[in-house]
Symmetry: C2
Subunit: 88 residues, 2 copies
């Protein structure tokens, strides 16, 4: 599965479009965010994608978990959002 990587500078609308496409194609997706700004953009993207998918009867659900990752030799804590979907 493709993991969408979101930063504080990511456009919530663009991430929402990519997320909605992944849900339509595969029914689920994953998003990784590091830092408060990135987490905020991710949550906005999920809310926007919900609006994109609602007219097709699809609801999406997020399950955030902590993930330890290494960037440039430094340990960082990321949030990984598992996104699943359900059709009415």
């Amino acid at each position: 599965m493709n993991v969408l990587k979101v930063s504080s500078k990511s456009s919530a609308n663009s991430v929402a479009g990519a997320l909605a496409a992944a849900i339509r194609d595969e029914g689920e997706s994953e998003i990784q965010a590091i830092g408060a700004g990135a987490v905020n953009q991710t949550v906005k993207a999920i809310a926007i994608a919900s609006g994109f998918l609602a007219p097709t009867g699809v609801s999406i659900f997020a399950q955030p978990t902590f993930e330890e990752i290494e960037i440039d030799g430094e340990e960082r804590t990321a949030i990984r959002f598992k996104i699943t979907s359900k059709k009415d």
Copy 2:
């Protein structure tokens, strides 16, 4: 239903405890957050609460939506998280 209000200064652990208690009692809950810092604390609280509930076979799912609210006569955009649960 009780709505948990989270700010950027809220302790993620305390919110997680309140959320886990609400899920145990009612099976669902709602959280309101205004601003990136508050959204980040909310997501961390959901991840922590998932860990509290996992040993009892309960998974939780977040559905964020935008909500327009008025604070001191000013229009603000909040994120409202609907939290539902499922038992294995």
